[in-house]
């Protein structure tokens, strides 16, 4: 059984959410580690975050760009960008205010896994729809999730469905499905990609219904051999075959463990222990629960094993400082730090750890930390005498300072804003 000390439950809350407040850590410690894990998987009463509705999106008009004047085109583009900004703020606001942070965390994780960007999709309404899909299905059955994502408008646009014709199969989706979503490099051959691409021919986004459909005259109904199985496969069957391939469960397990605990390859022993049950049931929730209750999840390798992604650092900071998502430094700051929701750098999603540690991001973190510390109400820290403030900030951030960090922070303890700004960039807080 895993201990319920403050440090251990804070680790659990950080990895299953976006950075707990001190009060949330206290409550979790009182409740106990196992009970906190159990509660993550219970359907709970309404989330206060649900009371903030998504932004209103203008009705989507397919092919609407074609017959527009330059002025109309500009206006449409401005409207799309404005809708997108509202959508980004809406999600960030959710991450801050939700009482079910685990659901948002999984939504964010799947957003990085099935990475899709507004930069190409250009439709905030479609990005929202995909986001809701991750939110509602993110702890369910992995095959159901993959099937749903594949037919969702954002993914259809993102990976060029509709250009996939019988005579010229487009391999884009078939390749990403195998390489990035379900199997990983090395588990399939180029022939598998080519054959799978034939199975997805004819898939497109019907502009009238704005929903997935098949153009029967563009679908290749012939026999295909995909991952060793031969048949007149369609796209759904290829997804079924891939998800049930022996390489899939270790691949998906490794991805989840890498984001929740520390980076591992599919051949890691921890994956060998966790993947077999998932291979049988594809139950994401059950897999994640086993992860959180595994001793290795709270071992030192896990506690020091991840750097906070910028979104985690930003939301965690806003939460502990009691600041809203609407601050001027929030979206601009995330852009400086290189991680903007709904804009992953490519279909591979965001890399981890070292990727976030450039000199520019180091300066950006400090600049943002200084701006947010100035905007925050720090009277609770100011009320503490300077000799106790370094400890008070550790409590506020739910971290434990090394002796080196504590002695580095002490000289600025007289100025609570400088103290908090520096504390937010200390290695202990930048670690996830």
């Amino acid at each position: 059984m895993i201990g319920s000390d403050r440090s251990t439950v804070a680790h659990l809350l950080r990895r299953t959410g976006f950075g707990p407040t001190a009060a949330e850590v206290d409550a979790a410690a009182a409740k106990g580690y196992d009970a906190v894990v159990a509660a993550l998987f219970e359907p709970t009463a309404a989330d206060p975050a649900d009371s903030t509705p998504p932004p209103a999106f203008a009705a989507y008009t397919p092919g609407g760009q074609r017959n527009l004047t330059p002025e109309q085109r500009r206006a449409l583009n401005q409207q799309r960008v404005a809708e997108f900004g509202a959508l980004q703020s809406w999600w960030l606001h959710r991450m801050i205010t939700t009482e079910r942070p685990f659901r948002e965390k999984l939504t964010f994780l799947w957003h990085g896994h099935f990475a899709t960007s507004f930069e190409k999709v250009r439709r905030a309404d479609a990005m929202y729809r995909q986001n809701q899909l991750f939110r509602t299905m993110g702890l369910g059955n992995f095959e159901d999730l993959t099937q749903a994502v594949a037919k969702d408008p954002a993914m259809l646009v993102w990976l060029d469905a509709g250009t996939d014709k019988k005579a010229h199969p487009n391999e884009n989706f078939a390749r990403e499905l195998m390489e990035l979503f379900v199997l990983g490099l090395g588990a399939y051959s180029e022939d598998d990609v080519r054959e799978a691409a034939r199975a997805f021919t004819g898939w497109y986004l019907n502009p009238r219904t704005d929903a997935w459909a098949i153009q029967p005259n563009q679908h290749d109904g012939g026999l295909k051999t995909v991952l060793g199985q031969t048949g007149p496969w369609g796209g759904e069957q290829v997804i079924h075959i891939a998800v049930n391939h022996p390489a899939s469960a270790p691949f998906v397990t490794a991805r989840l463990w890498s984001h929740l605990a520390y980076p591992v390859a599919p051949n890691d022993p921890v994956v060998a222990d966790l993947a077999p049950a998932f291979a049988r049931d594809h139950d994401i929730g059950a897999l994640v629960r086993r992860m959180l209750l595994d001793d290795r999840f709270v071992a030192p390798a896990a506690r020091g094993g991840l750097v906070k992604q910028p979104v985690e650092w930003m939301i965690g900071t806003l939460r502990v400082l009691g600041l809203p998502a609407t601050g001027p430094r929030v979206l601009a700051g995330l852009r400086q730090l290189g991680q903007v929701p709904f804009e992953p750098p490519n279909v591979g999603g965001w890399p981890q750890n070292e990727y976030w540690l450039s000199t520019a991001s180091s300066l950006a973190r400090l600049n943002i930390a200084a701006a947010l510390a100035t905007a925050a109400d720090l009277s609770a820290i100011r009320a503490v005498s300077p000799s106790g403030r370094v400890d008070a900030v550790a409590h506020l951030l739910s971290v434990e300072w090394s002796a080196h960090t504590a002695s580095s922070l002490q000289p600025v303890a007289a100025n609570e804003r400088e103290l908090v700004a520096l504390a937010l960039v200390a290695p202990e807080f930048v670690l996830a």
Binding site: Q336, E354, T374, V412, R417
Partner: protein, 434 residues
């Protein structure tokens, strides 16, 4: 050492309050070369003649630069045929030979061409080209056209030089471009805006202390390392810039933060940001860093606005004028300085544009395009074949020169690294412009 630096160091030490932090500020934050540069020491210039010891300056043109209106096939009937209003008449262009001419705004590049300091690589592209900005820039920066690759081709070089100098590569701008992203390390990035920590100097010493002396190779140590690398970059760059007078278009990177009673410096003013966006200003800063002896081998700058779907003629002419002023001023400054002789500038964009103009007086996303390589020590002239304007692939030019041939040439002759190490183990024919 200048008076300003002395007073700044004095201020750091004084503000630290504790001796250890003050000592660290001096000990960990100065690059040896920058330290020597500040003392006025001289460095032997790297030599292209020796092969692979040059300095590379990459200029990324975001949006997809229109190649046919940059290097103009002015005598090809298909050119004006496809561009009745967007095209330039033969008497408007700057002819280079009987077939090709520069855009009317590229007067400075013509002078570099005449001095054999400008190479034009024609028809650069790759198989199965994308028309997506996003994917296109990914491909050009990763140099891997056939799969998603998270590292950049220069980033993979950074990965091979572990033990490394944080100043090996330096990109200007707030975010790190993919081209200098490695799997194990990333290039340094000079953020836009004031090159100083927030707090008007008061956070310098405690930040230095915080980010120093964390032993070990774990992630906490890597976080601290990025902070101390930042201090190295800031102080080295400032020290070197302090030895070099600023040109008129210089960026304000070295400007000290405004004095403030609060902790916050919220970043650059609008005017500063504007100035830094200018290519000439960025290149002027890079020129000063090179002349001042910063050991950086690859610089990356970016210029936007090339996605000219609408009313291209006027917009593109402005862009060409900015590009011309930036590159020409920079190459001339490098040619006049012993440390600038082996500097090579190269442009690239995610794709060219269609041969035919569209209904909005612009052009849509295309494929192959020419790119420029310029520098005092390069071999000017044309490289690669001019693509046909009539033998098209669904309206797009067919590429004649694989972009990885350009990279392979640069890797071998400028960086001094086996191109195969950066190009997926593949070999590509060298082009001979260096």
């Amino acid at each position: 050492m200048t008076k300003r630096q002395l007073s700044r160091r004095h201020f750091i030490a004084g503000a630290a309050g504790v001796g250890i932090a003050g000592a660290a500020a001096v000990a960990v934050t100065r690059h040896p070369v920058a330290r020597a540069a500040a003392k006025g020491a001289h460095f032997s210039p790297a030599a292209l003649a020796e092969g692979g010891k040059g300095t590379l300056v990459l200029i990324a043109l975001y949006g997809g630069n229109d190649g046919e209106n940059t290097v103009i096939p002015f005598h090809d009937p298909a050119y004006l045929g496809g561009r009745p209003t967007l095209g330039y008449q033969p008497n408007e262009v700057i002819a280079l030979d009987n077939d090709l001419a520069l855009h009317p705004s590229l007067k400075g590049l013509k002078s570099l061409w005449d001095a054999k300091q400008l190479a034009i690589v024609r028809g650069v592209g790759y198989p199965s080209p994308t028309h997506s900005h996003f994917r296109g820039m990914d491909i050009w920066q990763s140099a891997v056209p056939d799969r998603d690759e998270i590292t950049g081709w220069i980033g993979r070089w950074i990965d091979t030089t572990v033990g490394k100098d944080p100043l090996l590569t330096l990109s200007l701008g707030p975010t790190l471009p993919k081209v200098v992203t490695g799997a194990k390390a990333t290039g340094a990035a000079l953020p836009a805006g004031t090159l100083a920590l927030p707090g008007g100097g008061r956070l310098d010493a405690p930040f230095t202390a915080l980010e120093s002396a964390v032993a070990g190779g774990d992630l906490a140590a890597r976080i601290a390392q990025s902070g101390s690398d930042l201090l190295t970059v800031i102080h080295s760059v400032k020290d070197v810039l302090a030895t070099q007078p600023a040109g008129s278009g210089s960026t304000s990177l070295e400007v000290a933060p405004p004095d403030s009673t609060t902790t916050v410096t919220t970043g650059p003013t609008k005017a500063q940001a504007q100035a830094q966006r200018g290519l000439a200003g960025q290149l002027d800063t890079i020129g000063r860093l090179i002349k001042g002896g910063l050991p950086t081998r690859v610089y990356v700058v970016a210029m936007g606005g090339f996605d000219t779907h609408v009313t291209e003629k006027a917009n593109h002419a402005t862009l060409m004028a900015d590009l011309d002023a930036g590159i020409t001023g920079f190459v001339k400054a490098m040619a006049a300085d012993p440390k600038g002789k082996d500097v090579v500038v190269m442009t690239f964009s995610e794709f060219g544009r269609r041969v035919a103009q569209n209904a909005s007086g612009g052009t849509d996303h295309g494929t192959a395009a020419p790119l420029f390589v310029a520098g005092p020590g390069i071999k000017g002239g044309f490289y690669g074949d001019q693509p046909s304007l009539t033998d098209l692939d669904q309206g797009d030019l067919r590429f004649t020169t694989d972009f990885r041939s350009v990279y392979a040439t640069v890797a071998d002759r400028v960086l001094g690294v086996d191109p195969r190490a950066l190009l997926d183990g593949q070999s590509f024919p060298a082009l001979g412009f260096v």
